[in-house]
């Protein structure tokens, strides 16, 4: 039997954590639009400024590339890569 290679095994691992500071968000949607694996979406809740901050729709999909952090004009979101970590619970952290 052939061994499972690359992508199938990798897909099971959580590769990145997204940190979202909800109250800084101004709802421009850059992070949601330009996220390469498209794991973010607008949440239904409002933040203190009256905008809908993003939330993680697909917990296992984040690769930790930090492109959201590069795009966010309000410094409200960023992602970090996790190295050598097996799948955990949803990789999502709300920064204060």
């Amino acid at each position: 039997m052939t061994k499972l290679t690359g992508t199938a095994e990798k897909a099971k691992k959580v590769r990145g954590i997204v940190h979202i500071n909800k109250n800084r968000c101004k709802g421009c949607g850059f992070c949601i639009e330009f996220c390469p694996p498209s794991v973010l979406e607008f949440s239904d809740e409002f933040n203190a400024q009256g905008y809908h901050p993003p939330r993680l729709a697909d917990g296992d999909g984040c690769t930790g590339c930090d492109l959201c952090g590069m795009y966010c004009p309000d410094f409200a979101i960023y992602a970090v890569m996790i190295k050598n970590r097996q799948q955990g619970s949803a990789a999502h952290h709300d920064a204060v």
């Binding site: 500071n21 101004k26 410094f75 952290h93």
Partner: protein, 293 residues
């Protein structure tokens, strides 16, 4: 607040370079200036410069606010005078890396004269120009970069003046590094900023950025995200393109890339050479002689 992953909470990488007590900043939702600040912070990280010797100088305007938000020695100067201010600082203390971070109106309209002469003399300044095609902070007046046909508060029937082609202006005035990117090209902007910080001479980077409140809204072009999508769809990367041919038209294609990267003796080197030749032993040398050689 719930922490669902046992990982050390790392701070946002930009926060090491930003005065967080001043956040939220004044920039509108969908404005690209904050994005360029992200790129700037990553470039500072990558260039490994001593942050004690990095100075940011801004003029007036939306982009001029950058000086107030970066956690560096930063100076918010009078309108259009960021380059003269930076020139003085660089000449008195040549070991500083002086970065001029300002908008298109401040740098090329009110400060246009300073801009071309700093380029002509090849002062060792890194000029980052965030171009949103309009005067944002003062209420959307026509700027020297407004494309023909665009509607502003002062051109309700459409602008009819030919706009500046900033990379062409910078090149013909004598800049040694000229590049243009948009707020969409975050990795490329970061790379260009890093290159500029390592290079000696007058460096110019134009970053096109959305202005959702004035430019986009008055021209019915949607919000900031629509502008970013336009940059994504219409940008053509052409490194080394002839700057004469890369003028921007209203919602037309945008040529981006690194156009000029040459070496030319900087102002202090030329001054030292000339004065040493004419005064010989009488010449005491400029301040920071070791640096300016």
């Amino acid at each position: 607040m719930s922490l669902t992953v046992e990982a050390p909470v790392q701070a946002n990488p930009v926060e090491a370079f930003v005065r967080t007590e001043r956040i939220p900043h004044v920039w509108c939702p969908g404005c690209g200036i904050g994005t360029t600040v992200n790129c700037f912070s990553r470039a500072l990280q990558q260039s490994k410069l001593d942050l004690e010797k990095v100075v940011v100088v801004s003029g007036i305007g939306c982009t001029g606010r950058v000086a107030g938000y970066v956690k560096l020695d930063s100076f918010h100067t009078t309108h259009g005078r960021a380059i003269p201010f930076a020139t003085g600082m660089k000449l008195v203390n040549p070991e500083l890396t002086v970065i001029v971070y300002s908008g298109d109106g401040d740098l090329t309209a009110i400060g246009g004269n300073h801009f071309i002469h700093a380029a002509r003399r090849n002062l060792d300044l890194k000029v980052i120009c965030v171009n949103n095609f309009i005067y944002g902070m003062t209420g959307g007046q026509v700027a020297p970069t407004t494309p023909v046909g665009a509607i502003c508060t002062t051109t309700p029937y459409g602008s009819f003046d030919e706009p500046f082609n900033l990379p062409f202006l910078a090149e013909s005035a004598g800049a040694t590094y000229v590049a243009r990117w948009t707020a969409f090209h975050v990795r490329q902007v970061t790379h260009a900023m890093t290159e500029m910080m390592r290079k000696k001479g007058f460096c110019f980077l134009e970053i096109l950025s959305p202005c959702p409140t004035l430019y986009q809204r008055r021209n019915r072009l949607g919000d900031g995200l629509e502008a970013m999508k336009y940059y994504k769809d219409q940008s053509v990367v052409r490194h080394g393109a002839n700057t004469k041919e890369i003028a921007i038209s209203f919602q037309g294609p945008i040529v981006v890339g690194k156009f000029i990267d040459i070496e030319r003796p900087v102002f202090l080197e030329r001054m030292n050479k000339q004065l040493t030749r004419t005064l010989d032993a009488e010449y005491a040398g400029c301040v920071g002689e070791n640096v300016c050689g």
